[in-house]
Amino acid sequence: MDLEFTPEERAFRDEVCAFLKKNLPEELAEKVSAGKELTKEDLLRWQSILHDRGWLAATWPREYGGTGWNAVERHIFAEECALHSAPRLLPFGLNMLGPVLFKFGTEEQKRDILPGILDGSDWWCQGYSEPGAGSDLAGLKTRAVRDGDHYVVNGQKTWTTLGQHANKIFCLVRTSTEGKPQEGISFLLMDLNTPGIEMRPIRLIEGGSEVNEVFFTDVRVPVSNLVGEENQGWTIAKYLLTHERTNIAGTGFSIKDMERYHRLSRQITRDGKRIADNPVYAARAAEIEAELEAMRITNLRMLANAREGAAGGRESSMLKLKGTQVRQAIQDLYRSALGHNAAPMASELSENELAVPVEAARAAPVYFNHRKLSIYGGSNEIQRNIVAKELFRG
């Protein structure tokens, strides 16, 4: 048994680390660290820096301009990015559409679509959930009816993350109402500039608007925008869900957040004591940290399995469950440690007048925003269903 990374893997980590130190703009890292909303320009700027280095598409094979990294290298890269407070990479083009096209796309689709994902000229968003189809995605109703060389799309999608910045969308649409609900779904690409598409922001619990509703009224989409076969969409959607989930636990984010908590707990004082010296907080932090350390090892064990080709859906569901629980526990601890200083939604005070460190000023909104972790990507209840199904099979 050996928990150490190989010398090559350690050298790779050093290389990533050196690159981030040199190339990650400080103002971006500060924004990420303080939980501030990043602009479209911020996100594209970071994406272009990585693209120049050839490190943007971690899950893509080399022939398509990806890194060709294995699961361990992807893990190291993601962890280091999180530890350096790099902006998150948008998964929609890179981790979702890209891999779908490798597997199900035509040569033309790959040729036409992949470069735009890499150079940032296209911003993809996702049209999966609907008002009536969340966890039960197969119940989706947005219709695509064939009319000559086009589909005519009518319906509504929701929870479309950062759709306000996007110019393209991939959707699951209903192309048949016969047979089981899963059998009549197709995977369709659309240009958001097509007449009949309207995007409306949804304001979230913390006040931000990172998600949207998308309305489709008689939208004409060329048949060549279909990925895979008609009515094969469910297979594609499932492939997406099991593909590349080694970073699903987000251990890098949790480690970083725990560091921030320790920093905060030594900086702020309540009723004559540093939070770090308050026995209740110290105990809570130590217990969460033990869970985080276990999580880190669980993640490594699954990576080792993945390297041997043995990681399955059950593993990634369990990682998602525990990973999100740990992250949410740390966010909760952080908000809670601030006491009444966490109350302002946004402060009018200048940065040097704030009663709390700048990076802590948005702790409560960030906490509320992160309740999403256990809801999206298949809610934690759905993950439990997946594991239970395997467990009680037969």
């Binding site: 048994m1 050996d2 928990l3 150490e4 990374f5 190989t6 893997e9 361990v72 480690i255 725990m258 560091e259 320790h262 026995p279 110290a282 105990a283 130590a286 217990e287 940290e289 033990a290 869970e291 350390e293 276990a294 999580m295 880190r296 090892i297 669980t298 490594l300 064990r301 990576l303 080792a304 390297r307 369990m318 469950l321 525990k322 209840e381 993950q383 439990r384 269903n385 594991v387 239970a388 467990l391 009680f392």
Partner: protein, 361 residues
């Protein structure tokens, strides 16, 4: 990065699992562990023949193992088999005797011809040796012990009973002849004893060996964590099987989502417990040893109770019965937290460590 057992460890694990499955029957176990002498000499000898005792110390010290991984492999199987033989005391004792150069005693213990145990904790001291009160003082050619010891696992029948006591130089270890024991049956089986010492003549093994003692105790904690992981594995298996078999309202309990989700949560925590135990094993002997060991003991203490309670609850009435093995697994799982410092003691230890400047996340 490699989480597979070495061939040698895999063979050890397999042979131990087979031996316990074939020879350590639940009904016999329950007859043995709840009454004097609280264990089986026959099982003990066979465990020694399988190499269990020898795996606790290095070749140089007279054994054929001695790593934390050896301890992990053995105690996980001990947990799976719910074996209540007094191995914890034996592990603690042999590590100390080996480290302090008592080769002859070590040889006898490795051969299964002798047993050892350690008296370290006291009615008011459960984890932190700084608070030990029992004292040893020089008297003529020998030493005398005064004070009280509690929670001595496997004391009855131990040939070499080591006693930790405060000396002028620090904390020492002593080997009195025939100390008087006040013994009891543990709630989860096995024997535990108290000692009341009043100027008890004794031989001194070392007058100052706190570090050796701390290391042995940390390894004992790893053993308990590994045992807990073995117990949890078996207990969750039993629970899954039971939910598949038991029919209510015309369908198996496994069809009820309220129960499915709780079982999945048990499995997730079991995975976490296995991971943190691996972390402690990997850290043993390094700078992070105490920190990882305390994290493991804390997490396993909390999750062990949770898994035990959930298992009992999901079995319903049958989980409450003496005749059902699962009940005894659950009982052991809860009581493991009470040994060598519980989850609260270990969180305290973590807090004390994090006050030190060299602590990092």
């Amino acid at each position: 990065m490699d989480f597979n057992l070495s061939d040698h460890h895999q063979i050890l694990a397999d042979s131990l699992r087979r031996f316990l499955a074939d020879n350590y029957k639940f009904e016999t176990r329950n007859k043995q562990v709840y009454a004097e002498p609280w264990h089986s000499q026959e099982i003990w000898s066979e465990l020694a023949d399988l190499g269990v005792m020898g795996a606790f110390v290095t070749e140089e010290q007279g054994g054929f193992g001695g790593s934390a991984e050896d301890v992990l492999v053995i105690f996980e199987e001990i947990g799976r088999g719910l074996c209540a033989e007094p191995l914890l005391g034996n592990l603690l004792g042999i590590r100390l005797l080996a480290a302090l150069g008592r080769r002859e005693m070590v040889d006898d213990i490795v051969a299964g011809a002798a047993r050892t145990a350690l008296a370290v904790y006291e009615p008011q001291v459960a984890c932190d040796l700084s608070y030990l009160e029992a004292t040893a003082r020089k008297s003529g050619d020998g030493w005398r012990l005064t004070g009280r010891k509690s929670a001595v696992y496997g004391a009855v029948g131990a040939d070499h009973l080591l006693i930790a006591a405060r000396t002028d130089d620090g904390i020492g270890l002593f080997l009195p002849e025939n100390p008087e024991l006040i013994s009891a049956t543990m709630v989860d089986g096995g024997n535990i004893a108290d000692l009341i010492m009043d100027d008890l003549p004794t031989e001194c093994v070392s007058a100052d060996c706190r570090n050796v003692l701390e290391n042995a105790l940390d390894l004992g904690r790893i053993a308990l964590c590994a045992e807990a992981v073995g117990v949890m594995t078996r207990l969750t298996d039993l629970t899954v099987d039971y939910l598949k078999q038991r029919q209510q309202f015309g369908k198996p309990l496994a069809a009820f989502q309220a129960l499915q989700h709780r079982v999945v949560d048990m499995l997730v925590e079991l995975d976490q417990c296995r991971s943190i135990t691996i972390a402690a094993v990997a850290a043993f002997g390094g700078g992070d040893q105490s920190r990882r060991v305390s994290q493991a003991k804390n997490l396993i203490g909390r999750m062990g109770r949770k898994i035990a309670e959930e298992a009992i609850q999901m079995h319903g009435g049958i989980g409450m019965t003496w005749e059902y093995p699962g009940a005894h697994y659950a009982k052991r799982l809860v009581m493991i937290d009470h040994q060598l410092g519980d989850h609260v003691d270990h969180v305290q230890r973590l807090i004390l460590m994090s006050d030190k400047p060299n602590a990092s996340a």
